[in-house]
């Protein structure tokens, strides 16, 4: 026979592990893991402001998977985030972010 405490502990682990909990099949919940370190940006001047801006809406693997490009590419990307997706980034920050991306993820 299984002890209640063990059962409780196992249940807690399942909750933590993000497995779906089926409460009578009336609802379903999952828990998503945090951003994977694979997407971490390179440590260099401008990393902080870039991370802050990007992570408002998405993980930074969106950055690291892109083809390395010149200043035109990264300027275009930052402009698209502001104009198309409405990212709230000041002109000064946009410049710093573009420079960081071009230096660290350029050709």
């Amino acid at each position: 026979m299984i002890r209640l405490a063990t059962l409780r502990a196992a249940l807690a682990l399942l909750v933590l592990a993000g497995l779906p909990l089926v409460a009578g099949a009336q609802s379903r919940t999952i828990t998503l893991p945090p951003d994977h370190p694979y997407g971490d940006l390179k440590a260099a001047p401008g990393q902080d402001v870039t991370e802050r801006a990007c992570r408002n809406c998405h993980s930074t693997d969106y950055v690291v998977m892109q083809p390395h490009g010149d200043v035109r590419q990264w300027e275009g990307v930052v402009t698209k985030m502001i104009k198309v997706y409405g990212a709230s980034i000041s002109a000064e920050d946009a410049k710093a972010i573009t420079q960081y991306l071009t230096t660290q993820y350029g050709r």
Partner: protein, 401 residues
């Protein structure tokens, strides 16, 4: 009852590891793939180890070895989202599918009503991301840099969209039908994900489903629980997950994810000269013909003078696969593969071929498919700026001896 589900417990422990640490990375053969190299394997809720594209929103791709069979298991099925946050919790007591707009009787259907008030229909169909294999474009293009695993094939069961629309009573003057899911971006400036179909397809095609079942089970949350739209033959951008809102409209819907998003050059090939921008575009729709060798895995070693079994899948937009061929001499000669069971014109068609390497050395094996109307695959990849429609002849490299 002592066996409080030891397997669930162990699976839970595994998932916990994935939450707190790197779950693993790709093996030697795949690590050599320029697109997949360095990408970790991760385990998300209700999923097995998949290749990470992005964490947030979650985008995960299926390792090639799963495409040695026609049906892709639910836990290995790829995941693609557009905006964050994504739905993680659905209360079926409160969830309703709303049908409105230019209809006589707006509906609010519970999942039980969807299951019991409409005839149950099934279709086996391939879901493939428009940008599958985008990472292989040359010159490269910006976007989700997928390998080839943003595709999967499942048996979908649900209510026919046309039956649901008939119950609502589509009014005169209707032109298109729009679809939205439960996704709501964190910021109101981010365009809400929404897609549209022309009325004709929505009310005539018996294979367009509002699906509540995938391979005999509930949909995994990350694949659209509780229901998603199934649009066989068309890219998965139309297969709206967590579907919750259907609107009949009297105009052509041109919000962000239909225009400027998900457009292809308005010409027969959907392509332009590499690096050029198309003058006119149209919404992406039908999938191109594709075929893959799933096993042996590229980069692995096989025995000389002993037959190896090649396995994979082929598919198109619904004409069905007529033939699959392989070549070990760069396409000078092609050999017909054996086709597996026909699961319907929208399904993966499984294929197998025996291949015997005559002598030690490196081999490149090619595969191509021909569909029911004679369309096939070319030696040179077509290019467009969004990285869509890829269907070049695929190949693997094997070492014999």
């Amino acid at each position: 009852m002592a066996d409080l589900d030891r397997r669930s417990f162990l699976a839970g422990a595994g998932a916990l590891a994935a939450l707190t640490a790197v779950s693993g990375s790709l093996g030697g053969a795949l690590a050599a793939d320029p697109v997949l190299a360095g990408r970790p394997l991760v385990r998300y809720p209700e999923k097995t180890d998949l290749i990470l594209l992005t964490s947030r929103p979650a985008q995960l791709e299926t390792p090639m070895r799963y495409f040695d069979r026609a049906i892709t298991p639910n836990d290995a099925f790829f995941v693609r989202y557009h905006t964050f946050p994504t739905p993680t919790s659905v209360d079926l007591g409160a969830w309703r599918l709303r049908v409105g707009g230019r209809v006589d009787h707006p509906l609010e259907l519970s999942l039980d009503e969807l299951k019991t008030k409409f005839p149950r229909a099934a279709v086996t169909a391939v879901a493939q991301c428009s940008g599958n294999s985008r990472g292989r474009f040359s010159p490269r293009v910006l976007g989700g840099e997928w390998g080839d695993g943003a595709m999967g094939n499942a048996e979908w069961v649900g209510a026919r969209l046309r039956d649901v629309l008939a119950a609502a009573g589509v009014r005169q003057g209707a032109m298109q039908v729009t679809f939205e899911g439960l996704d709501r971006p964190a910021f109101p400036t981010v365009p809400q994900f929404a897609k549209s179909l022309d009325l004709a397809r929505a009310i005539e095609d018996a294979d367009v489903l509002v699906a509540y079942q995938m391979n005999g089970a509930d949909l995994p949350m990350l694949n659209g629980f509780p229901v998603r739209l199934i649009v066989p033959g068309w890219y998965a951008t139309y297969w709206v997950k967590h579907l919750s809102e259907i609107q009949v409209i009297d105009h052509v819907f041109e919000k962000f994810w239909m225009k400027p998003g998900y457009r292809i050059p308005d010409n027969a090939c959907g392509c332009v000269e590499p690096g050029q921008a198309p003058a006119h575009t149209v919404p992406i729709s039908r999938m191109t013909v594709r075929s893959f060798i799933a096993t042996p895995e590229s980069g692995t070693r096989v025995a000389v003078a002993r037959p190896a079994t090649l396995k994979g899948v082929a598919f198109d937009s619904g004409s069905g696969i007529r033939e699959v061929q392989t070549s070990d001499d760069g396409g000078a000669t092609w050999h017909r593969a054996q086709l597996g069971a026909d699961l319907g014109r929208y399904s993966f068609r499984e294929w197998t071929a025996a291949w015997t390497p005559p002598r030690p050395g490196a081999y490149r094996l090619l595969v191509r498919a021909v569909n029911g109307i004679g369309e096939s695959q070319g030696y040179e990849p077509l290019w467009n700026p969004a990285g869509y429609l890829r269907n070049v002849i695929e190949s693997i490299e094997l070492q014999a001896g």
